[in-house]
Point group: C2
Chain length 324, copies 2
Amino acid sequence: MYSKDELNELITKGVGNLKCNEEAARLYDPVRYMLSIGGKRLRPLLTLMACNIFSDKPEEALMPAIGLEVFHNFTLVHDDIMDSAKVRRNSPTVHEKWSLNQAILSGDVMAFIANEYIALTPQPHFMKVFKLYNNTATEVCVGQQMDMDFENRPFVSLEEYLRMIELKTAVLLATCLKAGSLIGGASDRNADLMYEFGRSLGLAFQIQDDILDVYGNPVVFGKKTGGDILVNKKTFLLIKALELATGAREVRLKELMSSTDFNPSEKISEVTSIYNDLGVKEISESLAADFITSAFAYFRNVSVSEVRKGPLLQMALSMTGREK
Amino acid sequence: MYSKDELNELITKGVGNLKCNEEAARLYDPVRYMLSIGGKRLRPLLTLMACNIFSDKPEEALMPAIGLEVFHNFTLVHDDIMDSAKVRRNSPTVHEKWSLNQAILSGDVMAFIANEYIALTPQPHFMKVFKLYNNTATEVCVGQQMDMDFENRPFVSLEEYLRMIELKTAVLLATCLKAGSLIGGASDRNADLMYEFGRSLGLAFQIQDDILDVYGNPVVFGKKTGGDILVNKKTFLLIKALELATGAREVRLKELMSSTDFNPSEKISEVTSIYNDLGVKEISESLAADFITSAFAYFRNVSVSEVRKGPLLQMALSMTGREK
């Protein structure tokens, strides 16, 4: 089997070889930029590792793996416009560095570059992978729509929130694992289990991200904490707090959310202290733990030897902070 | 063979059945809107007519034909943002009616809806059609990039202009004809001739559109004339005029272009009169005629009976105003 480093090297080389149309350098400059400013390459890595569980030729999944990474970066470029984000991975976002139009169009072309890479999926598996991809890409758009809709709504239920992060984040991780498995020759049942493994992992991952935005170590987390609190982002923690808060605490939480004239660090510390009082962190951690348990249950049921599962298991443990 | 009306009926019904994800009505409302405010359905019609030349089952090309129409509408939604256009087909553009974010995201989902339809191309032809489509979709983005770049450049050569309209407009018409032909079972040679037929037709079509923007009958043309002149759009006419104008006429044309304080109808009439003096209309008509001649030469070489070519020939004649 390939080591994680060997697979990462394949990905880095593959992304570096991205075919660009030199007739329109201005169109591809932001594409190259976006793919060069880092990112953990989590999605292509999961694709290759999943493939490697079932096959000794994970490189056969390399092209679609890159396609999935390009798709992911396409969504980031457009999401950053919609969220008016100025910084991504410690670098200016594409619409900040270039312009709105440049960010729209460079994003668009990435969707078709993704297609071109996915078209290079080995023939016997291509159609299944392509249909899975299309379905997922549509779902990711639906997830982003729900996320935007939530901003303008006073109340969002936990169920709605979970569905949103499922669509916006989890199904793509699930798709990477399923696509890699299919290309590796997995049975439909094993590929579906890998999908569910990825879906549960993705849900846990996103809830953990919500927790880290409040409680993370900024040095490890890579950005300042409290960002979600400042913009009243309907994270799992806020939704749960709104559900649990009563009396004076409920009034104060809603005041903090509706006030437009506030001291940022005071707002962060006051909302965090309400979260603390309500035990929202523990509730969130417990839900994330449930999803992780369920993820590993799916993974356990994948009928392949433990030895082959080893590297992906390690990877999943490290993603969810359970690394030994 | 099917009549044009029968094919149009197939398209209308197919577009009407567009599968939407009901979980995010807000995401699909603009998609349905965009596909309902008209448009000539030229691209799916060309796809089906091309298929019908080689096969008695043009309905086999219906799904990819709709995919190509959805793709075309995707480009319109995003182009309208980039051009700050307020009106499309006599209706408000998506970003005007909804919002910028809504227009970006609805456009994005259309790209994946297009994929889903193209995935329904009959199997033996699918991969060829998909690769053709991806290549073309990328080219259309490159064409839009060139068009935007031209706005900020004082000089654009005729060669650059022709390459831009080839990418932005002509290759998609060419792709519709080629895809339909392939699905109809055409040989590669015939399919390539159909592509060239469409490419030349598209070039002629765009140059004629440039002419109509200045000289068209607003009632027939469907919008006010002179719009391109007002925004100094680098059309074939303006580029040619800048190439030919000398002395006082050159100075005046450049003055008119750089002035920000002008009476719109005076600018239109003065630029038009410079075009008239330089014979730019005739030169443009002559170039369009050359492309039409070359288009029909390609079409003539397609090795199939004249009877089968009849309906598409009529359609092409009507597109280029040569209808008898």
